[in-house]
Amino acid sequence: MKFSVTVTLKKDVLDPQGKVVGQTLKNMGVKNLNQIRQGKFFEIDLSEENSTKGKNQVKEMCEKLLANQIIEDFKIKITE
């Protein structure tokens, strides 16, 4: 079973990458950009047929390693 995980900085945490990328895009002429925030993306392939079990396992991975919950939120999706 395959999962995709996105990890993003919490709203009130400064996002230096997004800020610089946003500024660069504006300099490149993108005038209608309101905001861009950058995060991480993971594709995870597990040997697990049960989607609830799999999702719980991925959740645990996020909590323990993939995301730093003090500053980051994560979202999990089943892709395959």
Partner: protein, 730 residues
């Protein structure tokens, strides 16, 4: 199966070359074998166009332990200490993917150095970009610089200097040359020559993926059906694994289990195994099913030609496997016995219990083609530019223009992205004439400088070749080091063109003459041909990386002026050669005529005199005069210390521009205290060296009596703006 002409061409081989392959094999080659031949016979691995010329370079003297031919050169710096160093190009990959190209270039050169048993202690680089005005330059600059830093910083080796140049000749073909310097015990150097039959061949490091597989795979028919999937991919560097590999190798090298060791560089497994066997005059047999692969279903062709990074091949002595494996496991690295040495003198590859390739080693090495390519003597323009032929310009305006030009601007923007001091032995960072790195735990150090002068080499390849060696020698001397030996990276266009080949031959001749005269041997190097786009070749760009020795660190010298009231003298005669100068180029876009001449006798005399003055503590600061001439060098001294200068008006004001901006060779600026002037006069007379007093150190103001006056702060700003402004506008 018969190899088609298309397959031959797509492997970068000529039809005649394939004929020779058939003769050597006594049969048709299969596709895997063709791939192996193409990898070994290409210019990069075989040096087929350059070999006969490189042979002319002086490569030996009393301090050379290992000259060209091994992974890196080795020199003796006394007390059992050896310095291992080499420079290498990664031009093409860096143009395609600047970050990864530059990063893997650094990774590759580091492996060349630590395979020989040396702990890398410093990194240098020479990077050449196209005109800053074209769009891609900024992107390339950013990518290359962060790639170099990203890799070196992470492995924990200080990047301590280099050179950065812009010239439209590199618009579509940038140069990225990386140099690594390591320290070893001179009695514990490791070589790539295999010894003994039935010895285990061990693969260590990262797994093999489809990285950078020869572009030829795309075109060769076997892959046509699945060509999308087999697209050759860019190599991605993994500095973390490199660090582990470095530590694991050095740990294994503490005992005597390694017979020979070779990193997998260009042409990966193929060239490493062939080189080890060929040097040992042995055969080698590999079982490809054992190769640690990153992807499923990799073919023997892919395994043999993959350029995945951070891998090594080791020939182990008997019964050492267990201990060795333990070390690599500790560092979480693959360690697999993949074959053995044999007495067959052939490279034999097994896959799925079948022999899939069987090639005599000599066919891949000694019998590879070698060419004495046709070449033309370069035409050297005699045209002399006279100062009266150009528009009037004020001295200070000309100076400011040069100081704030991309090529002469301060490089802090770059060097602030490199960790220059990790390992805590960096005595002098970049910004001076050479970097100085202490030998750990000792009171001695090495100096390192990297130099090139493409404009000079284009105008007159032979003189240019001489000049870069001399400039490098000067840069080493200026920090108080005795120049010992060099490595070189020869970046040229297409050698099949007679004028390019001519540039190459003449540059090499110039380098050779200078190295011979200065007893400054070449111990390693690299040739990069085919630097051209749309059949336009780059200017000939040989890059010299030199090493010098400070046997007593207390004699270290810098360009920083010390005290108001001191005098600045110039050693060496100033004639005022303006052709090919930064003055004409930056102010008038003129790039014509011959480069300044090089006089070996003066060069050597002047240099040795400077060294003596440094040793005797008479010289208080030293800076050689290079691109931009005397006034630019004077300002660099001032900017570096924050102290001003009162510069004396030249005797003949009519030729002030020539005097201050001429690029005559063999000159140094030296700060002395006034009361030593008599002593200096005597010394110079005895040694038949020309010198004159040109300035006096003072506070705050950089000025020439009655001509101009600038605040040091302003001078500093002129010199420090360009990079920030350039990179602020995305």
């Amino acid at each position: 199966m018969v190899i088609t002409k298309d397959q031959i061409n797509s492997h970068g081989l000529k039809v005649e070359e394939y004929k020779k392959i058939k003769e050597l094999l006594g049969r048709e080659a299969n596709l895997l074998e063709l791939g192996i031949f193409s990898a070994m016979w290409n210019e990069h691995c075989s040096y087929k166009s350059s070999k006969i010329h490189l042979k002319k370079l002086p490569t030996k003297n009393e301090i050379v332990i290992q000259g060209p031919g091994e992974n890196a050169g080795v020199i003796d710096i006394g007390d059992d200490d050896a310095i291992v160093f080499k420079i290498e190009s990664h031009n093409h990959p860096s143009f395609i993917e600047p970050y990864q190209g530059a990063a893997t270039g650094v990774g590759g050169i580091l492996r060349d150095v630590f395979t020989m048993g040396a702990r890398p202690i410093a990194l240098m680089n020479s990077i050449h970009f196209g005109s800053p005005d074209i769009k891609i330059t900024q992107n390339l600059l950013n990518g290359v610089v962060s790639g170099i830093g990203g890799y070196g910083n992470s492995v924990g080796i200080p990047t301590v200097g280099g050179e950065t140049k812009f010239n439209s000749t590199y618009n579509e073909n940038i140069l990225v040359n990386a140099m690594a310097i390591g320290h070893a015990n001179k009695n514990k150097i490791f070589y790539s020559k295999a010894k003994g039959i039935n010895k285990q061949v061990v693969y260590v490091g990262s797994k093999t993926g489809r990285d950078g597989i020869h572009g030829a795979t795309m075109a060769s028919s076997e892959f046509d059906d699945k060509s999308d999937e087999k697209k050759p991919t860019v190599q991605v560097g993994d500095p973390f694994t490199e660090k582990l590999l470095l530590e694991a190798c050095l740990e294994l090298m503490k005992d005597n289990s390694i017979i020979s060791i070779q990193d997998m560089g260009a042409a990966g497994l193929t060239s490493s195994s062939v080189e080890m066997a060929s040097k040992g005059k042995l055969g080698i047999e590999l079982n490809l099913n054992k190769i640690p692969c990153r992807e499923r279903n990799m073919t023997p062709y892919e395994m043999m030609l993959s350029e995945s990074q951070e891998r090594m091949l080791i020939i182990l002595d008997d019964e050492k496997e267990k201990e060795a494996k333990k070390i690599f496991q500790k560092w979480d690295l693959d360690f697999v016995v993949i074959g053995k040495t044999t007495d067959s003198n052939s490279l034999v590859l097994n896959y799925d219990n079948k022999i899939v390739a069987d090639i005599p080693i000599s066919a891949l090495s000694d019998k590879a083609p070698m060419y004495d390519r046709k070449w033309n003597k370069s035409k050297i323009s005699k045209k002399k530019i006279k100062i009266k032929d150009i528009k009037k310009i004020r001295i200070e305006d000309a100076l400011i223009k040069i100081l704030s030009s991309p090529n002469h601007s301060n490089k802090n923007w770059i060097t602030n992205q490199y960790d220059q001091v990790v390992m805590c032995d960096t005595v002098q960072k970049s910004g001076g004439d050479s970097a100085v790195i202490r030998i750990h735990n000792k009171n001695k150090a090495i100096a390192i400088s990297v130099d090139s002068s493409a404009n000079y080499c284009k105008a007159d390849p032979k003189t240019g070749g001489k000049q870069i060696v001399c400039e490098n020698w000067r840069n080493l001397i200026s920090v108080g080091a005795k120049p010992l030996a060099i490595t070189n990276c020869l970046n040229f266009g297409n050698p099949e063109k007679t004028n390019v080949m001519g540039e190459f031959v003449e540059c090499v001749e110039g380098i050779k003459e200078a190295c011979e005269f200065l007893n400054f041997p070449v111990v390693s190097g690299n040739v990069s041909f085919y630097n051209e786009t749309n059949s336009k070749s780059i200017f000939p760009t040989p890059v010299i990386g030199g090493i010098g020795l400070l046997d007593n660190l207390n004699n270290i010298m810098s360009i920083k002026t010390k005290n108001p009231g001191n005098l600045i003298i110039v050693i060496g005669k100033t004639i005022g050669h303006l052709n090919q100068s930064a003055f004409l180029k930056e102010n008038f876009s003129i790039c014509e005529g011959p480069p300044p001449e090089v006089n070996f006798v003066n060069e050597k005399n002047n240099g040795l005199a400077v060294l003596k003055l440094i040793k005797e503590k008479i010289a208080l600061s030293v800076h050689d005069i290079s691109s931009g001439g005397m006034l630019v060098s004077l300002s660099e001294m001032s900017i570096s210390s924050g102290l001003g200068l009162k510069i004396y008006k030249p005797k003949k004001m009519a030729s002030a521009l020539e005097y201050f901006f001429g690029e005559d060779q063999g000159r140094y600026l030296i700060e002395i205290s006034k009361n030593n002037l008599n002593r200096i006069e005597k010394f110079m007379k005895q040694n038949k060296i020309f010198f004159e007093v040109v300035a006096e150190v003072q506070n705050d103001i950089f000025e020439m009596e009655k001509i101009f006056s600038l605040k040091i702060n302003d001078l500093h700003n002129f010199n420090n703006q360009w990079y920030n402004n350039y990179n602020a506008t995305n």
